[in-house]
């Protein structure tokens, strides 16, 4: 589904990604871990098309398309969803209105008829219930006055409504209590299917107790320095990141 080859990217003059290789197949869940500043969030945002980052080399192929050629909104309409680490506030625009615009943008892109408010609401009701979204929360302005947990839950609700093929969760677990963490995990697990893939970017192992990854990759200094199964996450939890950072030294790096 997603094939990343030797991807490098920089912001201003700072090189952040230094040759990422990653292959994600439909049905898989990949966890990307790593110390702060290792490039985890940058990778997530580069896949989503954020132009703060300049891609300086490599390629990204998504469902057979050259992803780097697509604008962010095209990537979204092609089924890529990014749950933001810091969801953005949009005052005066109701959550419902925003989400309907998003759903309809994708429908329009696919050449489908746009949904009116009634049809949209009917579809939204069930998903609101399963994620514990109240009517009040859905009619409030996008993320305005939401607590940290509410913002993250709202991201997962948007994901549920947009039904992406590839969902990327950028530190969605940070700042969440255990109940909110479970809600987020339930949302992701509900989305799990043989034709979808999920990339979970996280600093901690904790979320992976609830979202069981098929693969775990460790990033350090802009490279994937180690890949493994879910036991790698536990090992990291145990040993911390310092031994991994040594692997990032170019002369010591283990290239997989």
């Amino acid at each position: 589904m997603l094939e990343i080859k030797n991807l490098s990217a920089k912001v201003e003059d700072k090189q952040i990604l230094k040759g990422i290789n990653l292959s994600v197949k439909a049905g898989e869940i990949h966890a990307i871990m790593g110390p702060n500043g290792s490039g985890k969030s940058t990778l997530a945002q580069v896949i989503a098309g954020r132009d703060t980052f300049e891609v300086t080399g490599g390629s990204v192929t998504y469902l057979g398309k050259d992803l780097l050629e697509l604008a962010p909104e095209e990537r979204a309409c092609e089924g890529i969803f990014l749950a933001f680490q810091y969801p953005v506030e949009i005052p005066g625009v109701s959550n419902l209105y925003f989400l309907r615009a998003a759903v309809n943008a994708a429908r329009k892109y696919r050449g489908e008829e746009e949904l009116d408010a009634m049809d949209f609401m009917t579809g939204a009701k069930g998903k609101m219930a399963s994620l514990g979204m109240s009517d009040q929360m859905i009619s409030r302005a996008v993320n305005v006055g939401f607590s940290g947990g509410e913002k993250k839950r709202n991201e997962i609700f948007q994901m549920a409504m947009l039904e992406p093929k590839l969902a990327i969760l950028d530190e969605t677990d940070s700042g969440l209590d255990i109940d909110a963490l479970k809600t987020v995990a339930d949302g992701v697990n509900a989305l799990r299917s043989p034709d979808r893939a999920v990339i979970v970017v996280t600093h901690y192992q904790r979320l992976l107790d609830y979202i069981i990854p098929d693969f775990v990759h460790v990033l350090a200094d802009g490279r994937v320095v180690k890949s493994g199964d879910k036991s790698l996450a536990l090992e990291l939890e145990d040993k911390g990141y310092s031994w991994i950072e040594q692997l990032a030294q170019p002369e010591l790096a283990v290239r997989s």
């Binding site: 201003e12 989503a48 098309g49 954020r50 132009d51 703060t52 980052f53 300049e54 891609v55 604008a71 962010p72 909104e73 990537r75 979204a76 309409c77 969803f81 990014l82 933001f84 969801p87 953005v88 506030e89 949009i90 005052p91 005066g92 625009v93 209105y97 925003f98 989400l99 615009a101 998003a102 943008a105 994708a106 892109y109 302005a141 948007q158 947009l162």
Partner: protein
């Protein structure tokens, strides 16, 4: 992939679609300003003696005044002797005329502006007074309104047909000594709209004036006077456009509103004068004095303005809350793009007991523009229990524009409650990327974000104009964020 700075670059603005010129024969006085011109205008309009006296007093007072320098706007000195103070389409018949007598060229002009004047084609439920350069050329639905006793006509007709009302109210809210531009207007104003709603009448339709500047090298000085008698109710809307010209043109208008006991006036403006080109060449200097007096108990005056045009906007629609329990409201969206400058806001003067005022101001700046909110809330000694709430929000697009807020507060009664909130936000990369990532294209995202920001003001506009205003906002800001 582009860098963030180019992403917020100002691209080309959409063309100003009202920038055409109507080719019509006009009667224009030679440039220059002196007592003879004032006398000429008054004579041209066959005004009664009291009007000429009033104009001359204003003119003589104006000579003693200096142009104000305190607004946060910058422009080269205006040569008041270089402009012409009267320009009107030549008409075959003098005096007030029916729609059938209006030059077809003029009707076509308004048609092109989206304001059809023939009553069959006219906007349902909206009566329009069309002002072209210095004169009113047509007023629709006059007959229908007359049946209810509502007087809605050009200012010139009102001077001739209802001199007692003019003499009683003219200059009582904005005196001829008020300020440099209002005083100039008092001396040379050529036309405008007049409206009187009799006791207990609720106007069945929106009344509106559409101002059009056409002639080059002229100033437009119109005057609007609205009187809402006891228990009456009126909603009034003004719109304005002008051709694209390289020279700046002065528009110095005065609007006076009077609300008596239990009367309500809702005054909405969608101002779209030519803003000048991207480099700031040309455009209208919009220096306007608008003020309403809530003279009666329980009266209410509400100003709603959407300001997107003009090279420079300088205006403070204000309320003088004299009657006990009277209410003043000011809802404003001011958009500046490219090189536009705006210094706008309001004054709420609380005099009566339990008077209340609300100020909601939304400033949006893009390009290299400058957008200033300036507002005064004054609670007089006798204004027991007065309350004010002010909220001033600014939104910046890009890094080269400026937003400023100058709230002034004078409270002389200890029982008053005054609240002020202000925010500045940036339509940033973050919001746009968030929308993009959800599949929403950039242009739709900007329109969504900006309309969300202005929501509290738009909901105050009459329905059909709220839609117009939203579109207009989109056009004004098109291309302001890449």
């Amino acid at each position: 992939m582009s860098t963030p700075t180019t992403d917020l670059d100002v691209l080309t603005s959409q063309d100003y679609k009202y920038g055409f010129v109507t080719d019509i024969e006009t009667e224009t006085v030679p440039p220059g300003l002196n007592e003879d011109i004032v006398r000429w205008i008054s004579a041209k309009k066959k005004e009664p003696e009291f009007m000429l006296d009033w104009r001359l007093k204003a003119y003589r007072h104006w000579l003693t005044m200096a142009e104000p320098k305190w607004p946060n706007v910058h422009y080269p000195p205006i040569d008041y002797q270089a402009a012409s103070y009267f320009s009107a389409p030549k008409s075959k018949t003098d005096g007030p005329k029916s729609l059938d007598d209006v030059d077809p060229e003029l009707l076509a002009t308004y048609e092109k502006l989206g304001i059809p004047l023939s009553e069959r084609a006219a906007l349902a439920g909206v009566a329009v007074d069309a002002v072209f350069d210095s004169v009113s050329v047509a007023t629709t639905f006059k007959g229908e309104l007359e049946k209810l006793g509502i007087i809605f006509c050009s200012f010139s007709e009102a001077v001739l047909n209802h001199p007692e009302l003019i003499e009683k109210y003219l200059g009582t809210v904005v005196p001829y000594t008020d300020n440099f531009f209002a005083t100039l207007n008092s001396a040379v104003f050529s036309d405008g709209s007049f409206c009187y709603i009799p006791k207990g009448v609720r106007s069945p339709m929106e009344l509106s004036t559409y101002f059009r500047i056409n002639a080059a090298n002229t100033g437009q000085f119109e005057r609007t006077l609205i009187i809402a008698d006891e228990g009456s109710h009126v909603s009034y809307l003004e719109g304005c456009t002008a051709p694209m010209r390289d020279e700046n043109q002065l528009h110095a208008a005065v609007v006076e509103l009077v609300a008596l006991d239990n009367a309500q006036i809702k005054y909405s403006t969608v101002q779209n004068w030519y803003p000048g080109d991207k480099e700031g060449k040309g455009g209208i200097y919009n220096f306007v004095t608008k003020r309403g007096a809530c003279r009666g108990v329980n009266s209410k005056i509400s100003w709603t303005q959407v300001e997107t045009g003009s090279a420079i906007t300088w205006k403070y629609p204000s309320c003088i809350l004299i009657g006990d329990n009277s209410v003043g409201e000011f809802y404003s969206v001011a958009v500046t793009n490219n090189r536009q400058q705006a210094d706008t806001g309001t004054k709420m003067i609380h005099i009566g007991k339990n008077t209340r005022s609300t100020i909601i101001s939304k400033g949006i700046s893009a390009g290299r523009s400058s957008n200033t909110y300036r507002g005064l809330v004054k609670i007089q000694k006798g204004a027991q229990g007065a309350r004010n709430f002010s909220q001033c929000d600014s939104m910046l697009m890009g890094d080269e524009c400026g937003a400023h807020t100058f709230p002034y507060l004078e409270v002389k009664n200890p029982t008053a409650q005054v609240e002020h909130e202000a925010t500045t936000s940036k339509i940033g990369e973050d919001q746009l990327f968030y929308c993009n990532q959800r599949g929403i294209p950039t242009e739709d995202a900007i329109s969504m974000i900006v309309n969300g920001f202005c929501k509290e003001v738009f909901k105050e506009l009459p329905m059909e104009f709220a839609v117009e205003a939203q579109k207009l906002l989109g056009v004004s800001l098109e291309g302001s964020v890449g």
